[in-house]
Structure formats: C-alpha cells, structure tokens
C-alpha cells in the first residue's frame, strides 16, 4: 500500500465536519456577494420612518415603529431566504463546482444540509442585526419619551407620574417583541427549506424565485381561503383532502404572522409560540427530506 493510501482519512458515512465546511463556505459565498446590504435598507427605512413619526403621540409612534420594523423585517428576511437559497444549487451545477464537491466522499444529503444551514446562519445573523437596530431605536425613543414625561409633569402627584411612566413602558419595548421576531425567523427558515427543495429540480434560479414568490402569496392567502371554503355547506371530504394537500405544498404562512399581536401589545401565549415553532420545524423537516429525495435521483 502506498504512503498516500496509508495516510488517507478513513471514510465516515456522516460527518458534521463536512457539513460545517459546506455551511461556512455557503455563508462566506453569500456574505461576499453583499447580501447583507438588505440590512442597510432596513436601517434606512427605520431612520426614515422615525423622522416621519416625530409628529405623532408616543403611543402612535411606538406602534408605527413596531409595525413598520417588524413588517419590513418579515418581508426582507423572507426575500433574503428565497433569493439567497434559490441560486445555490443551480449555480453550483452551472459552474460545475458541484462535480468537484460530490466527487469527494461527500454524501448528497450532507451537501444539502450544509447549504441549508449556511442560509439559516445567514438569516439568523441578518435578523439578529436588524433586531438589534430595531430594539436600540425603540429603547432610545422610549427613554427619550420617559425623560420628556418626567420633565413635562414637573410637580406631579406620585400616582399620576407612575401612571404616565407606565403608559410609556407598556407602549414601548416588551419581551413579546422577541417572540414575534423568533417567529419571523421560523418563517424565513421554512421558506429557505422550501426554496432548497424547489431548487433541486429547478434548472435556473429565476424559475425557483418565481415559484417561491407564488408560494409566498398563496401561503399567506390560503388560510383565509380555507376558512371561507370550509364555511360553505358543500365542503365535503374531498375538499378537506384537497385543502390538506394544498396546506402541505403551500405552507400556511399566515400562521407565522404574530406581528399584529406584538404591535397591539398583546402577549403571545407560550402555547401558541411553541405550536408555531413546532409547525415551522415540521415544515422544514418535510421540505428537507423531499429535497434530499429529489436530489439523490438527480443526474448531474
């Protein structure tokens, strides 16, 4: 046996190190393509909306700030998940990079997992940065309003001051915002997993993006359509089966929309949060499995 063969690393059917190598490479790829610029867009929108809101009362200001920030964060992270994931596999095939990777002892599911984790890491970093920016702006505005309230009510009865300060705090930064942001992250992860699945059979990234934009809209509308349909007396078992299939292909994205509750200052129940998180995990697992199934049969 040659020295080379003697020193070769023994093969392992599953290797977190290989997945990690693909994950970090995917993150480097996306970072160097300047996808983080979306955060710049977020920052500009945030600053722009803050300037616009100076004329409102603090309750209105905080509400609009939360509404705009969380809404923009949700749209940008969904867009980032779709656009960043859609190009990964078709581009690797077009550039033949996939041949060099899969000609190494790398199982196809590890390649897919590495790519997916790379995007999820990108989404986590992007959402964390956007959240930090949003929380910082909200916190600073809340402090400014608290100081303003203290100054305006110069000689207050204690209770009146407490009530005024409490009103500011209730309208301001609350822990439920983090739960709302976590759900935005779950939705983006789900969309990334579904895009990965679509890109295993899409020949171009444009096709994958078009499919995913359609899925995005249908996913947001399907819950309303389903409720309307089921209210009809004619809705029989065929309609139920059909709706179940639609719900699997087009995820119920409305279930991941807890922004309205957060904006309204309504506490998100733990059970609802856990249910949404589990639903997200279920969808991600199903789409990743489907992607693996299709990718194993793919002729490269």
């Amino acid at each position: 046996m040659s020295d080379a063969a003697a020193s070769a690393v023994r093969h392992r059917a599953f290797s977190p190190a290989r997945i990690f190598a693909i994950t970090t490479n995917t993150l480097t790829e996306l970072t160097r393509q300047k996808v983080f610029n979306v955060i710049l867009i977020f920052g500009l929108l945030l600053i722009g909306s803050s300037l616009f809101m100076a004329r409102f009362s603090f309750q209105q200001e905080f509400q609009i700030l939360k509404d705009v920030s969380l809404g923009v964060m949700s749209i940008l992270s969904s867009l980032l998940a779709i656009v960043a994931t859609a190009r990964l596999i078709p581009q690797d095939i077009e550039d033949r990079t996939i041949y060099t990777i899969l000609a190494k002892p790398v199982p196809r599911f590890e390649y897919l997992l590495g790519k997916l984790f790379g995007v999820l890491l990108l989404l986590a970093i992007s959402i964390a940065l956007m959240s930090a920016l949003f929380v910082a702006v909200l916190y600073l505005r809340e402090q400014a309003v608290l100081n303003e309230t203290l100054r305006q009510v110069s000689r207050p009865p204690g209770e009146q001051l407490d009530a005024a300060l409490n009103a500011v705090r209730v309208a301001g930064l609350k822990i439920d915002i983090l739960a709302g942001i976590a759900v935005i992250f779950f939705k983006a992860c789900l969309l990334a997993a579904l895009t990965l699945f679509v890109s295993t059979f899409a020949t171009t990234n444009i096709f994958a993006i078009i499919v995913m934009v359609s899925v995005y809209f249908i996913g947001h509308l399907q819950a309303t359509a389903r409720e309307y349909w089921l209210e009809q007396q004619s809705a029989g078992w065929i309609a139920h089966v059909f709706l179940a299939i639609v719900a699997l292909i087009f995820p119920d994205l409305q279930a991941f929309n807890l922004v309205d509750e957060v904006v309204a200052g309504v506490a998100i129940p733990l059970a609802l949060f856990a249910k949404t998180a589990l639903l997200g995990l279920f969808y991600i697992a199903i789409y990743t499995l489907a992607a693996t199934f299709v990718f194993y049969g793919k002729e490269l």
Binding site: V9, T100, L102
Partner: protein, 284 residues
C-alpha cells in the same frame, strides 16, 4: 492488494429526451479496465460519451445498465470516492474564494484539518506553482491557473486515482505543458490517472494506454506505442551526418529489400518553437 483501479463492465447509459419517444444512447456496452499506476486516456470527439463515462465512474450519474468500480468498490457508494481526485472540464470553482481558501475548503470536505491541512495546502500550492497567487480570488485567475488550482484540489486527499476531464482544453501551450508535466509527475509517484481528451497530440506523450470512443462505443483500445506504430516502418534520426554518409545509407537500403520512403530534415514541433520563443522573451 492489487485491485484494478477502474473497472467498467457492460456500461450503457441512455438519456431520455423529454416529450419525445426516442432517447440518446451516450455510452453503449462499454468495457474497460485501468490498472494501478498507469495513465489511461479515454479519447474521442465531442459527444462520444467520454464525460458521461467519467461521471458514471464518479457516481455523479447512474448507469442504465452495467456497473463501474473504483479499486473494487462500487462507484455508486460514497466511500468509493475516498481515494479519488477529480478535475472536471473547464471548472470555475467558487470565484469568491482565494486559491488557498479553495484548497482548505476541499481539504475539509476530505476531513483534513489543523496542521495537516495547512501543510498539505502549502505543499500543493507549491506543486502547481500558485504559491504567489494563493491570496488572490479565483475570479482573477487565468484559465491555466484555474486548471492548476483544479488539479491541486483533486490531489488534496492524496488520492490513488485522479480523474481528469479534458485537462488541457482551452489552456495555452505553456499551461498545457505544465499540466502534462504534473501528470507525468503523478505517474512517477504511482498515482493512477484516467483522463479524457480530444487533443490527441497532447495526450500522446503521456498516456500508457488509450481507448477510443466513437458514438458511445469503444472502437479501439491498447498500449499507445502499439496502436500508433506502423509495423514495417523504421526511423533513423542522425545528428551531424554528412551528405556522403546519407548517400551511403540510401545505397545500402537500395541494395537490400528495404524501400526509402522519405528523406527530410528533422523539424521541431510548432509547440516547442512557441514555448522556446515565449520562454526566452519572458526571461529577458
């Protein structure tokens, strides 16, 4: 253990054409064996089934019929690629990575890490002459440099078999010469090389055996010297031979049963002329 490096038995690959009844047979009942330590050239025109055969050997596509093995292990198994390095035709790699990062990435895929990965990367950058360009992104590399970094990544896991798809296609004569020298170096180190090419004169110097594919069928196979030799012809190349000596040799030939077919001044190849001219200029 002396397993055959590559075994291809009864290999057929049929590609269905979407929305049509007919299909395309890319490879038809192909049988070949590559022995350990040899340089085997799979030759043929474009579309003759060379790349398809290599992809099946590497498990990138599945055969319609037949089987392929690498060192006795079925190609469809991931572990068969443990001792294999592959350089595809005109590879692009990740343009956003530098030469060194590229090799580190492929090394990690082969579960190399730490000091071992570092020394292997430096060793390979030196071998392919890219040490000075190691911090440059691949987007700025020339075609020849890309081919060389491609060869380096193929060697990262110290493979026993290296598969090269059109390794010199689209590379200038100097780059092509570098790659051929590297292949000769691999052979010297006991590494088996399986390459495909349609640039016949380039592979003629380096292949021990060749197989010629035409429309997916292996039409010729054997040792290169035997295949290209003209059985009853001989060549005599002389230096500083006088006119008298040449006439004497011609007379001797005429007196025997031999027939002088051609007498000409030896010439260099256009490639050597090009290399000499461009190397001289760059050295001035």
């Amino acid at each position: 253990m002396t397993d055959t490096a590559v075994t291809v038995e009864g290999l057929t690959k049929v590609f269905p054409v979407p929305f049509h009844r007919q299909s395309i047979t890319a490879v038809h009942d192909l049988n070949l064996r590559v022995e350990p330590g040899e340089v085997y050239g799979l030759l043929g025109p474009n579309g003759s089934g060379k790349s398809t055969t290599l992809k099946i050997i590497l498990g990138l596509i599945s055969p319609t019929r037949g089987r392929t093995q690498i060192f006795g292990r079925d190609s469809s198994l991931v572990e068969s690629r443990e001792a294999v390095g592959f350089l595809p035709e005109n590879p692009y790699f990740y343009k956003f990575l530098t030469g060194e990062e590229t090799l580190r990435f492929f090394g990690k895929l082969c579960r190399l890490n730490g000091a071992r990965l570092k020394s292997r990367v430096h060793e390979l950058l030196k071998l392919v002459g890219l040490t000075n360009a190691r911090h440059q992104r691949l987007g700025t590399y020339s075609k020849g440099m890309l081919q060389r970094i491609g060869l380096a990544q193929a060697l990262i896991n110290e493979p026993k078999l290296v598969v090269l798809d059109e390794p010199t296609a689209g590379v200038d004569p100097a780059g092509s010469r570098d790659i051929r020298n590297l292949i000769v170096d691999l052979k010297r180190r006991g590494i088996t090389v399986l390459l495909s090419s349609h640039l016949l004169t380039q592979v003629q110097e380096i292949c021990d055996r060749v197989g010629i594919l035409a429309r997916g069928v292996l039409v010729r196979e054997g040792r290169l010297q035997e295949l290209v030799a003209i059985e009853n012809w001989s060549e005599l190349v002389l230096e500083n031979a006088s006119e008298a000596l040449l006439k004497e040799i011609e007379k001797l030939a005429a007196n025997s049963n031999a027939k002088l077919i051609e007498r000409r001044r030896s010439t260099t190849t256009l490639e050597r002329l090009f290399l000499d001219a461009t190397t001289d200029r760059s050295n001035k």
